[in-house]
């Protein structure tokens, strides 16, 4: 009896102190709201960064102050008050829950539908897991295997400390600080992100996924990712996850830079499912991302994205085809529902000779949402025999949703071949009825039709991602036909 009592007290005490520890930690380790040189110095000091990086951040801040938030996207949102945001909080633990019963039932239902295993559901929703030896060993053996090949895959903070020469050589070379308002902001205040380096001639034997890193540090508001594939190497990189991600930070401004050196290949796949807000878009995440890759001689960068979340998405994964015979690809499915808005697309900048690019964009608009494709194909005078093929399709699920296409083409070399195809269609009543008549229910019918429509893009995703992405599309469009 006495023993039991003692246990109970222990439980109460530990439970309580945890609760306190959680809140005090935030209070003590959170920078005051607002952005100034002092705050940037604080961030850099907290992260024990070298002087060059601090100077780099300060320059970015100076540039950012001279810039204005872009108004050209086909987006309508209340511009954030940048002085009301806190730019530094210590990487904090997710609030721990004791059992799955405490998880938001809506979230659970979605994860069930995605077919996410119970263990995985617990991890994603922050339920305390009896840490399975298996997953520890998987992660460890994964790291060992990579290290053997000389592959570096770690957080950006770690890379700054452990591999400063690589970071310094490439950081900001693809997306210069002054590229745009959000990239300047990110350069000034980024707190973490991922770094990946594949040595010469190495073919990375597994999909590199942030999944393996997410336990170490939560995703930040201003992520910075840098992937460098050295000559003749290959890597497939996965970002994001299909499970719905909630975040208290409304504004996300990430920067991703890819460097594909001669004859290297980078395949970068993203599934983005940030909280889109309620039916009116209230409380949803603003996602302003700058993603760009540079291709050296005979190299290839392939972007594949499935965008279903966020209240506002502003994102143009691009390729600078600098080297001769380099190849850029962009495959995108963007789904908007309810009050979501997406302005997304790509830029293919052809500089080298015989450079090729392919753009396949599939927009799906439901509810009252607006979905825009914005793309630039630029063939510079040096790019002899450059080729581009673009296909931009829009599918409307309702009469109240909108699809917009803004293709820009600039050709400065007469030997270029540029093709552009675009279609807009409304989901066919006839197609739906055909499915219904075969005994397929309306929800599944829409899922089949939409997945068929997006198949060209989904086929580009690594297998395990593709299956989840298909389910994700269906869930995002539940009850959306009108």
């Amino acid at each position: 009896m006495a023993y039991d009592g003692k246990d109970k007290v222990l439980e109460e005490v530990t439970g309580k102190s945890y609760e306190f520890g959680f809140t005090t930690e935030i209070e003590s380790d959170k920078a005051p709201a607002g952005l100034s040189e002092d705050i940037i110095r604080l961030i850099s000091a907290k992260k024990e960064e070298p002087e060059w990086l601090l100077q780099w951040r300060l320059e970015a801040f100076a540039v950012w102050q001279t810039m204005e938030e872009p108004n050209w996207p086909h987006l309508n949102y209340e511009k954030p008050d940048y002085q009301a945001i806190s730019y530094y909080a210590a990487p904090k633990q997710k609030k721990q829950l004791n059992s799955m019963d405490e998880v938001d039932p809506e979230l659970r239902r979605t994860m069930d539908k995605l077919g996410i295993s119970l263990e995985e559901q617990k991890r994603l929703s922050g339920v305390a897991v009896d840490f399975v030896m298996d997953s520890v060993s998987v992660a460890t053996s994964f790291k060992d295997k990579l290290a053997e090949l000389g592959i570096i895959f770690c957080s950006m903070s770690e890379a700054v400390k452990e591999h400063p020469e690589l970071v310094r050589k490439h950081l900001g070379t693809v997306v210069p600080t002054r590229d745009n308002f959000f990239s300047a902001l990110n350069s000034a205040v980024f707190t973490d992100g991922s770094f990946c380096y594949i040595p010469k001639g190495v073919r990375c034997p597994m999909e590199l996924s942030t999944y393996f890193r997410i336990n170490e540090s939560g995703t930040g508001q201003f992520e910075r990712t840098l992937v460098v594939a050295d000559e003749g190497s290959y890597v497939s990189y996965l970002e994001g996850c299909t499970a719905p991600q909630r975040d208290e930070n409304q504004l996300h401004a990430a920067v991703v830079e890819l460097v594909a050196l001669d004859e290297a290949e980078i395949k970068y796949s993203t599934v983005q499912n940030w909280y889109p807000g309620d039916e009116n878009g209230k409380g949803g995440v603003y996602n302003f991302v700058t993603k760009r890759g540079i291709c050296h001689r005979r190299s290839k960068i392939s972007w594949t994205q499935v965008e279903t979340g966020s209240a506002v998405t502003w994102k143009y994964p691009s390729c600078i085809l600098k080297g001769d015979h380099s190849v850029g690809e962009f495959y995108s499915v963007a789904v908007t529902n309810n009050a979501q808005q997406a302005d997304t697309g790509t830029k293919m900048i052809h500089l080298g000779k015989n450079t090729h690019s392919t753009i396949i964009s599939k927009g799906i608009s439901a509810g009252n949402s607006h979905n825009s494709y914005r793309g630039l194909v630029q063939i510079m005078p040096s790019a002899a025999n450059a080729r581009n093929f673009s296909q931009c399709d829009s599918l409307l699920m309702t009469d109240t949703s909108g699809a917009h296409t803004f293709p820009y083409v600039e050709v400065k070399n007469p030997t270029a071949q540029v093709e552009h195809e675009a279609t807009t269609s409304k989901i066919g009543e006839d197609q739906i009825f055909y499915c219904l008549q075969r005994g397929i229910d309306a929800e599944q019918a829409i899922s089949l039709i939409v997945n068929g429509y997006a198949k060209e893009v989904l086929n580009q995703l690594p297998m395990e991602f593709a299956v989840e992405a298909q389910k994700l599309l269906s869930i995002s469009l539940e009850g959306s036909v009108g």
Partner: protein, 250 residues
């Protein structure tokens, strides 16, 4: 099997069916013929539960259930199949995956587990033989790039997969050459059984040489104006629809 009583229906406020009566017993093949615009395809759409069609009166009993009370999916799962006059294309969705979803929908209705991969593929192989649907067509996107004949063969293949109680063939002969017509008809004939009924909608007598009906009905202006045996179709072929129309007026 099917008992239609005084069925009235309209589309976009135009009244098309104006009190239609028809009873089909298990195992029977009924043909409905009639001039263009008489309401043949409307009847097929109304029975299948297409939403644009407004039922304004009457009742339809399907195997003891109130058909008009069910939505299109429920009707299909209860065993009503419509072979479309113009089968639609669904790009990016393979015929096989489409049929698996359909078969599993029906199995769910019957309280069965989803079909196992091997059993499903065996079933596909078996049923595809009926209409000579080769592997290439089975794996392609639903009807995409199919010729007219291939689309109709695919309809009969789907019918064979779903083993309906009542199959409605809506002008399945339209756009078919003589070989395709033979293949499609043989597929249908192979499926005739004492438990399964057919409602064959056609404009021409030709199809009925291959699929021989037990009863022929003539639909004019939303009503069945004459019923008879298979010889009625021949008489129509010879005299044309005007003969019936004049007959009614007289």
């Amino acid at each position: 099997m099917l008992k239609i009583n005084e069925l009235k229906a309209s589309v976009e406020e135009a009244s098309i069916l104006k009190g239609l009566n028809l009873t089909i017993n298990p195992g029977e093949v009924h043909a409905i013929m009639g001039p263009n615009g008489s309401g043949k395809s409307t009847l097929a759409s109304v029975l299948a539960g297409r939403e644009e069609y407004e039922v304004e009166g009457g009742s339809v009993d399907f195997d003891g259930e109130d058909l008009l009370d069910m939505d299109a999916t429920e009707r299909a799962r209860a065993g009503l199949f419509l072979a479309f006059q113009y089968p639609v294309e669904i790009p990016g969705v393979s015929n096989i995956n489409f049929m698996r979803a359909a078969v599993n929908g029906k199995r769910e209705h019957e309280g069965l587990e989803p079909i196992k991969g091997k059993a499903f593929l065996d079933m596909v192989k078996d049923k595809a033989k009926l209409v000579e649907l080769d592997g290439r067509l089975r794996n392609r996107s639903v009807n995409e790039g199919f010729s007219g004949g291939e689309k109709k063969r695919n309809e009969i293949f789907q019918m064979a997969m779903l083993e309906p109680k009542l199959a409605i063939l809506d002008e399945t002969d339209s756009g078919l050459d003589i070989d395709a017509l033979r293949i499609v008809s043989e597929g249908v004939n192979a499926m005739r059984s004492p438990e399964r009924s057919f409602l064959v909608i056609t404009h021409y007598q030709r199809l009925l040489d291959y699929i021989v009906p037990d009863f022929v009905h003539v639909l004019v202006d939303g009503r069945i104006v004459r019923s008879g045996g298979k010889e009625l179709a021949l008489e129509l072929e010879e005299k044309g629809y005007d003969w019936i129309k004049e007959d009614i007026v007289a």
